[in-house]
Assembly symmetry: C2
Homo-oligomer: 114 residues x 2
């Protein structure tokens, strides 16, 4: 039970949130998502985490996917797009996220306010 363990606990939920935040902006393919998240160690995750997560989101119809050929002999890519249901879900998550930030900041200040 050290900080590394805690970091992997924190990713629970945060990862899903980050991925939907990304895909909301434009279609991303799996490997690309992994690369983007790699820039932020706190939410970095490998294939064995991201692909199952994407499959879960697909299954829940929060995102949809479509294959697209790559130029220059690269393997084809599976692009993910957010659905309307996914957008609703993301909005609900954003609200709860704000609640969490509020809770933490009030808890931090508990001494001063009673």
């Amino acid at each position: 039970m050290d900080v590394e363990d805690w970091k992997s606990q924190i990713k629970r939920g945060s990862l899903e949130f980050c991925i939907l935040l990304l895909i909301k902006q434009r279609p991303y393919y799996g490997y690309e998502i992994i690369s983007v998240l790699e820039e932020y160690p706190i939410v970095a995750a490998k294939e064995n985490t991201i692909y199952p997560l994407l499959r879960r989101l697909l299954k829940g119809e929060y995102i949809s996917s479509s294959w697209q050929e790559s130029t220059e002999g690269l393997p084809p890519r599976k692009y993910y797009t957010i659905t309307e249901k996914g957008n609703d879900y993301l909005n609900a998550m954003s609200l709860e996220w704000d609640n969490l930030l509020t809770a933490i900041s009030e808890i931090k200040g508990a001494l001063n306010h009673g």
Copy 2:
């Protein structure tokens, strides 16, 4: 897989963070912690979640405990105090928490910056 599920995922790690943030300020007893967290639905949790969590923190020596008599015939209370190790742990968590907030805010703005 709805927002309720996501909320319980988000609690992983956040709960531990909140409890250490609380206890850092002054000693709290278990029932008191549960009551305080109840005010924030996003981090609210019942006995069967909080007590095992406190036991984990005790076992890892992030907190220590001591019994104290209550006035007016109330049952004695077990007060939890943060240890030095717990403080170090909490500081490390705070850093990672900031990293998470930064990551999310940058991911939200990915369209505008590249």
